[in-house]
């Protein structure tokens, strides 16, 4: 790698951030539109129930819907806040 390509890498700007953000948001939106219509509301309801017990932010709950051949899977992942010591 010559000094020129090194120089090019150093300049890597906001496009990288743009790509990462897009990959995440589009992955979410694709899941929403491939799943059943109730999915967004289900996610909001689940959030509300969990918030009765622990303080969580939106991105700590991940609801995924996957179509299988025999049955569909609804996967729920909740990242709980750090334990207090």
């Amino acid at each position: 790698m010559g000094w020129f390509s090194y120089f090019k890498q150093e300049k890597a700007g906001s496009a990288k951030v743009a790509k990462e953000r897009l990959q995440i948001v589009i992955a979410h939106e694709r899941l929403d539109r491939n799943g059943p219509e109730y999915l967004p509301q289900l996610r909001r309801d689940i959030m509300e129930v969990i918030r009765k017990y622990v303080a969580i932010t939106d991105d700590q709950v991940n609801v995924q819907y996957e179509k299988g051949s025999d049955f569909d899977v609804l996967e729920l992942n909740i990242a709980l806040p750090d334990r207090e010591h």
Partner: protein, 268 residues
């Protein structure tokens, strides 16, 4: 059957009308009888880009409402043979477009022997955009290297495979990604999403990359689609795109920063 192609994007101002004008002109230049329809009811603009604004008498909505025949409303293009423009209405709203009305116009165009029908979609995902894509066999998804445009394109891709006539018949709409307003220099400096980034995110076959070019503004100023400007980079890139659409294998151009003599010697 006539092949119906929608030019769509979700996001506004990304180059749909510029593309529809160049694309339909390119198809007609190759001998295909082509109609280009402005679906942007209320915000007619295709007529200006095609340079036929002073010859509009009847429009698309007049035909749908049986206030004029299709033959009365179609405007013969003055630049190339085989090309006809169906302008949008300036005074009605988008509710004037119905699946039945649009379908009838498509059938009539088919009966008139059109090979291609290019539908210039309005921005958004409302009725106008929905009607423009409804009968499409193919979709040219116009995307700028910019976050909101890429996201909206993904949205539109979802609608193409769920809300169109083809989708309802259990078939698919062929998708083609057209990246426009591309600046190789800004991509190289890391400020702009690259063609590869966009392809990786959207995962749709690439049909062309149109560079950001001053010739596009010149073309719209004079009312002659940019593909007619054979010396311009954008004109050539649009011509390559038309050839690819017709099945030719054409390498992509205008993706790299033009090297200066000095650098060329040093690194080329």
């Amino acid at each position: 059957m006539s092949r119906i192609v929608v030019v769509t994007s979700g996001k506004g101002g990304v180059g749909k009308t510029t593309t529809s004008a160049a694309f339909s002109t390119g198809l007609a230049m190759r001998g295909y009888k082509t109609a280009v329809i402005d679906f942007d009811v209320g915000l007619r603009n295709l007529d200006l880009i095609m340079g036929c604004e002073r010859r509009v008498v009847y429009d698309f909505v007049n035909v749908i409402n049986n206030e004029a025949t299709l033959n009365q409303a179609l405007i013969r293009d003055k630049h190339v043979e085989n090309l006809y423009v169906l302008p949008a209405s300036q005074t009605r709203d988008k509710d004037a477009l119905t699946p039945e009305g649009v379908g009838r116009v498509m059938d009539e165009l088919h009966e008139l022997g059109f090979d291609f029908i290019v539908c210039d979609s309005p921005a958004g995902i409302e009725r106008g955009a929905h009607m423009a894509m409804y009968y499409a066999d193919d979709a040219v998804v116009v995307t700028n290297p910019e976050v909101s445009s890429v996201r909206d394109s993904d949205r539109i891709l979802g609608l193409l495979q769920s809300k169109t006539h083809r989708a309802k018949q259990g078939e698919t709409v062929r998708e083609h990604l057209l990246i426009t307003r591309y600046s190789p220099a800004r991509v190289q400096s890391g400020e702009m999403l690259s063609m590869e980034d966009i392809l990786e995110i959207l995962a749709v076959p690439l049909i062309g990359v149109i560079p950001e070019s001053q010739s596009v503004l010149q073309a719209s100023n004079s009312g002659a689609p940019v593909i007619l400007d054979k010396a311009s980079d954008a004109g050539q890139a649009y011509d390559d795109f038309v050839r690819r659409f017709l099945g030719e294998t054409v390498p992509h151009r205008f993706l790299e920063v033009e090297k200066k003599g000095f650098f060329k010697k040093l690194f080329g």
